[in-house]
């Protein structure tokens, strides 16, 4: 038995079922095409380039649009359906244009207990207009315009010892309170760039997406300033600092030879470095 002729049995004419609109891809200029090629070159098989390429698309448009999907499909010889299936699976690909900044508040259990739920609620109320709270993945201000902010609640951001945590454009702002979070978004709206607790000096969402696609500042000085952005939180170093204060160390490491290959079961062969 053959496949069902779905267009034949459809209640509407076939031309209405398939919307094969060719989008205008001119927003993805020669530089972006070049970058897409560089991404593909990193992998043994081109399709592996899809996730970074979707990040690249977001760095251009602040979201993954139909044009972005068609661009990736064309670069990778995939169908738009194949690209759409991937783009809609992952939380970090946004279908609505993101603000200049993306503010992600961890509301998973541990952060929530420590105040994450309060922070998310407070920010929603603070950024909302006309008494309406700003919801998940909604933007205060004209999306993409200076000072615009997209708010989202995030799942565990893997900084639990520093909770409650917020990320702005995926840079960490640790140990937050509702008050500090309000001050943070107010500064962002005024065009300021507060320094993250851990991460590079703050830029915008689209720059973060370009970095996620694997493209870094080209001049050495800017590059080093991003790499050397802070990371050594007190919490991170607590165990190591406690050990140092108490002169606790791991047992000293001997310079042990590599073992012999595959000792037979029951044999008493111990060490012996191969020449």
């Amino acid at each position: 038995m053959g496949d069902t002729d779905v267009t034949g049995v459809a209640p509407v004419p076939a031309e209405h079922l398939v919307t094969d609109v060719a989008e205008d891809l001119s927003v993805f200029d020669a530089d972006i095409v070049e970058k897409a090629g560089q991404i593909i070159a990193r992998y043994p098989q081109s399709r592996s380039a899809l996730l970074p390429m979707l990040h690249l698309v977001q760095s251009v448009e602040g979201r993954v649009s139909q044009a972005g999907i068609q661009f990736c499909a064309r670069q990778l010889s995939l169908t738009p359906a194949e690209v759409s299936a991937v783009a809609t699976f992952y939380t970090m690909y946004k279908r609505k244009t993101c603000g200049e900044h993306l503010v992600s508040v961890c509301t998973n259990t541990l952060c929530a207990v420590l105040g994450g739920d309060d922070i998310y609620r407070t920010l929603g109320e603070h950024l909302g207009e006309d008494g309406k709270r700003l919801g998940h993945n909604e933007t205060a201000g004209e999306p993409g315009a200076p000072g615009s902010i997209t708010l989202e609640h995030a799942e565990c951001l893997a900084a639990c010892d520093l909770g409650p945590v917020i990320q702005v454009n995926y840079e960490y702002f640790d140990n937050q309170t509702p008050e500090s979070a309000v001050a943070l978004v107010d500064a962002l709206r005024k065009g300021e760039r507060p320094a993250p607790t851990r991460g590079a000096p703050l830029r915008d969402f689209r720059t973060a997406e370009l970095e996620l696609a694997g493209f870094w500042p080209e001049d050495e000085e800017s590059y080093r300033s991003t790499v050397d952005g802070p990371s050594a939180a007190v919490e991170t170093l607590r165990g190591a600092a406690l050990a140092e204060a108490n002169s606790w160390t791991a047992p000293p490491m001997p310079n042990a030879p590599l073992p012999a290959e595959e000792p037979r079961a029951g044999s008493s062969m111990s060490g012996g470095e191969k020449k």
């Binding site: 939380t91 919490e235 160390t249």
Partner: protein, 431 residues
């Protein structure tokens, strides 16, 4: 302070460089024995390195605890197809926060481990799949790879050994399921991150259907130390079946949350002492030994040795040693509901028990927390859990039921109390 036979309460190995200024730079790394293990390893054979890691008893630090050396030995000895080493740096299990600080503070230890492990498994292309939200780690890893290339530790003919290796850092895009190794491979191939049926295991058919080993960050970062110190040294810490030091990430209601690297088998009582005790003196109520997917423990379990065997014998799992500590002010049903909402959101949708199960579990728990639950809901929850546990495609489903079944096991009264006001309605409905 410490006897020769008993290691110190905190044993910094992986974390020992973290206090150094610009610990992430190759300069600091090389001053602190960095890349000495690589030189030593390249003088040996791949077989010797696999044997060494087997002898050390190093077990996977990503949650499952599978012996790393055994996993490596599954890789075929021939090179009919390219071999791949893939690092799982998709840290996202609620409570887990060890790999991200490690990659920020000491990315070269991971890079050196990747080179040694790739050599041992005859891989010439290694991928580090990093959670997209961990942008600063991605940045530091890329910088470390650049530095390692410039120093001749990566690329062609590494240190004149004839061994070639490239490392590619790959950013994820926000999907917890990609921490499952086969879902990670699908994601790395540019697909939706959905788990694959095993067998075939990745060592037979992994990335691009070629032999592949997927290891956690902390596992691979341990390798240079094992190469330098030897298996016997590694075994001076930890227990017979769970050797070595481990980064315990203590979070929540303690005075000094943070990363404490201690020998495997350390108890919560000991960890709490290191972390300054319970915050504001408010007593402990429940905790997880290794993330939300590991069944919760209570005050009864303060002296359970936190190694793979000890946690399992007490009815939980060691997981990622993400010790989340909750005090008496926290409602267990509420915490369980929040975690269940997480699993519902992160279920990939591939298999019915997990996709539908997490949806209904979340809905029922939400209703209970809102005060509209009945005693029958508890049985319904347990019944659904029974149909998810062991019947899902991957471990996400198993993890999703852990908070619920353990929460009801230890705090049933709290779930019942939420239903108390609806008791009349419930009884009436049956009269």
């Amino acid at each position: 302070m410490t006897t020769p036979n008993k290691p110190a309460p905190v044993t910094p190995v992986l974390t020992k460089r973290w206090l150094s200024p610009t610990s992430w730079s190759i300069k600091t790394y090389e001053q602190l024995e960095g890349y000495t293990a690589l030189r030593k390893a390249l003088k040996g054979t791949p077989e010797q390195l696999v044997q060494l890691v087997k002898d050390s008893g190093l077990r996977g630090r990503g949650g499952a605890g599978f012996p790393a050396g055994i996993k490596w030995s599954f890789m075929p000895p021939n090179e009919d197809k390219p071999h791949y080493l893939v690092i799982n740096a998709d840290e996202g299990e609620p409570g887990t926060c060890k790999d991200i600080p490690l990659m920020m503070a000491d990315p070269h230890s991971l890079i050196e481990g990747c080179i040694i492990a790739s050599y041992a498994m005859r891989s010439h292309h290694c991928f580090i799949y990093v959670r997209g939200e961990a942008l600063h780690c991605i940045r530091r890893l890329n910088a470390a790879i650049r530095e390692a290339h410039a120093a001749g530790y990566l690329g062609e003919n590494i240190l004149d050994s004839g061994f070639d290796l490239e490392i590619t850092v790959h950013a994820g895009a926000g999907a917890y399921i990609c921490g499952e190794e086969t879902a990670l491979l699908d994601s790395l191939e540019g697909r939706r991150g959905q788990p694959r049926l095993k067998p075939p295991f990745p060592a037979a058919a992994g990335l691009y259907a070629a032999p592949t080993t997927v290891n956690n960050v902390e596992t691979i970062a341990s390798v240079p130390f094992i190469v330098n110190g030897g298996a016997d040294w590694f075994r001076t810490m930890g227990t017979e079946k769970s050797p070595g030091p481990k980064i315990y990430s203590i979070s929540g209601h303690v005075s000094k949350p943070g990363q404490y690297e201690a020998p495997l088998g350390t108890t919560l009582r000991e960890l709490l002492e290191l972390a300054g005790g319970m915050k504001d003196g408010i007593p402990l109520k429940f905790w997880t030994p290794g993330g939300s997917s590991t069944p919760m423990f209570t005050t009864e379990h303060l002296d359970v040795p936190l190694d793979f065997e000890g946690a399992a014998a007490a009815g939980s799992m060691l997981g990622t040693t993400a010790v989340m500590v909750f005090n008496e002010t926290v409602s267990v049903p509420w915490a369980v509901m929040k975690w269940t909402q997480f699993y519902e959101h992160e279920s990939c949708g591939k298999c019915t028990p997990c996709r539908e199960g997490t949806y209904w579990l979340a809905g029922i728990l939400e209703r209970m927390v809102e005060g509209r639950g009945t005693e029958a809901d508890i049985d319904t929850l347990l019944d659904i859990c029974d149909n998810v546990l062991g019947r899902s495609f991957c471990a996400l489903g198993d993890g999703a039921v852990s908070p619920i079944t353990s929460g009801i096991k230890y705090f049933r009264d709290e779930f019942l109390a939420l239903c108390e006001q609806n008791r009349g309605a419930y009884v009436g409905a049956h009269s």
